[in-house]
Amino acid sequence: MADAGYWLPHWIGGEGRRLYAALHPARAPAPGCGVLLVPPLLHEQLRSRRMLTQIAIRLADAGIACLRFDFLGSGDSDGRGDCMDLASMCEDIGIAMAALRASTGVAEAAVLAFRGGALPLSSWLATSGDVDRVVLWEPIVDGAGWMDELADADAAELCSPARYPLRRGMPVEHNDRHLMGFEVSPRLRPGLASVQVGTGAWRHRPETWGVLRPDVQLPSLALQRVFELPADAARIGDSTRMDGALFVSPGLQRVVDALAVALTQPQPQSRPERPMAREASAP
């Protein structure tokens, strides 16, 4: 495993199916908790790469080991874009969770899933996955609705005068194996569209928290805690452009710190349903 100073970039998974991963060892007395960061999908993954790195660094500074990874066919992982579908992503989450547990020996494992990453995570939890805690960061809960949104956004990009100033509005030919600029599998859209994220479908009942905007309610999720995002928090999904990288703002730092404190608190012995508490970040 290479050493980049604060974290360790390496490969996980088998030959021909290697996933790029980065392990952030706990840099404070470890409370025995580890977090797997599940990235957002497509253009949102690259846009948010720096933000996820900064979040992992901050959690590791608080004593929580973190593992980031790229899905097969995305980021720096093996495979072309057409390798990635719902089944492969579920498999990747399983591989990454096993790698986190094996490399850190943590007693408690949590998953922090961003935006569209909630879709394969929910599918994994509905089939084979088991973790102690789940944190959903502005999750996409309606896979079909999101696929429609992306199809519209993609069509707009292909005839955007800002992107193609010399085409005079003549759209670039659409391609079914293309979405938001990325090569995709024909199985990706129907797979993601089939997912409605709901805690009721999960085989086990991990403690589930949300990191949400103040005005957002997600009735399909039984969230035990909600951390409210401040106004200066980057909106991962608000642009289709990849050249706008997202950063951890001062307000967002406070949310991540609050999340770190909460994650280091002991897990309840049982997993009862509890009323939701919303926690706003202090100004």
Partner: protein
């Protein structure tokens, strides 16, 4: 085979070295483009790595300080990080020659590194350094005329609005930030000509592609020779102008054209023989 490589001050920078370690061909070094992480716009660099690896050509993609996973490193800017990458590959992987570049800021790094380091035997210049002049203005006026009288009113209004905004000294909230060559570290035109002539003289090969997404800076293929002089016509220089493409090659078919063009160019240079460092 892909290999994770750490390098630079404190080994804090990370790159992916792809391809056959026994290869003696120059390594294509791909710094991140703008703020887009090292996988490249829509994974362009990953696709390139896979295609070139089939020809035994290695690639190395990495994040410069402050982009993607890379921390900001005091005393190590993007140019120094690129030179650190070259030094590391030379010391630890036996690489003696490099082709450096990519899209936009990565092309700028290709130019800057080539002018500083003789180990750079090729440059990949995708929407890189450019100077407007007669042919740019000619193409802009021609384009406006071709759009017909209905478009002229809007063009005149935009031009007048831009002039009024610049006179008032205020940037338009809805407008685009005016381009400033110095912000990209470009030399003045006369210095760029001198540098390009020197690069051509030492045998540096270069592939230049300008896209329609660069319409604020490049609008006509003859603009290239007008900007760079005699060196632009050197047989070691390859130029394409693709007005139908955007700056980051969003559409799959455009990216496929780009990857194929770079692949063909790299293989052809390899067959012809690169210059010695």
């Amino acid at each position: 085979m892909n290999q994770v490589v750490t390098f630079g001050p404190g080994q804090h920078l990370v790159g992916i070295l792809s391809g056959d370690s026994a290869s003696t061909a120059p390594v294509l070094v791909l710094p991140n483009a703008g703020l887009i992480p090292r996988a490249g716009p829509f994974r362009l660099h990953v696709e390139l790595a896979e295609r070139l690896a089939a020809h035994g050509i290695r690639t190395f993609r990495f994040d410069t300080p402050g982009v993607g996973e890379a921390p900001r490193l005091p005393g190590c800017n993007t140019q120094e990080a690129t030179l650190a990458a070259l030094d590391h590959l030379a010391t630890h992987h036996g690489v003696g020659r490099f082709v450096v570049g990519g899209v936009c800021s990565a092309a700028d790094l290709g130019w800057a590194t080539a002018t500083r380091d003789r180990r750079v035997v090729g440059m990949l210049m995708l929407d890189g350094i450019s100077f407007i002049g007669f042919w740019f203005h000619f193409a802009r006026i021609l384009g406006a005329l071709q759009r017909g009288p209905r478009a002229w009113f809007g063009i005149a209004r935009r031009l007048l609005g831009r002039t009024a905004a610049s006179t008032a000294g205020s940037g338009s909230g809805a407008g685009r930030k005016p381009f400033v060559a110095g912000e990209r570290g470009w030399p003045a035109r006369i210095e760029a000509r001198r540098q390009f002539a020197a690069l051509a003289q030492r045998g540096t090969r270069s592939l230049w592609i300008y896209t329609g997404g660069y319409a604020d800076l490049f609008l006509h293929p003859r603009q290239f020779a007008a900007a760079f002089g005699r060196a632009a016509r050197d047989p070691q220089v390859t130029l394409h102008y693709w007005p139908d493409c955007d700056h980051t090659f969003y559409a799959r078919q455009h990216r496929e054209r780009l990857v194929g063009t770079i692949e063909d160019w790299m293989v052809a240079q390899d067959r012809a023989g690169w210059a010695a460092p």
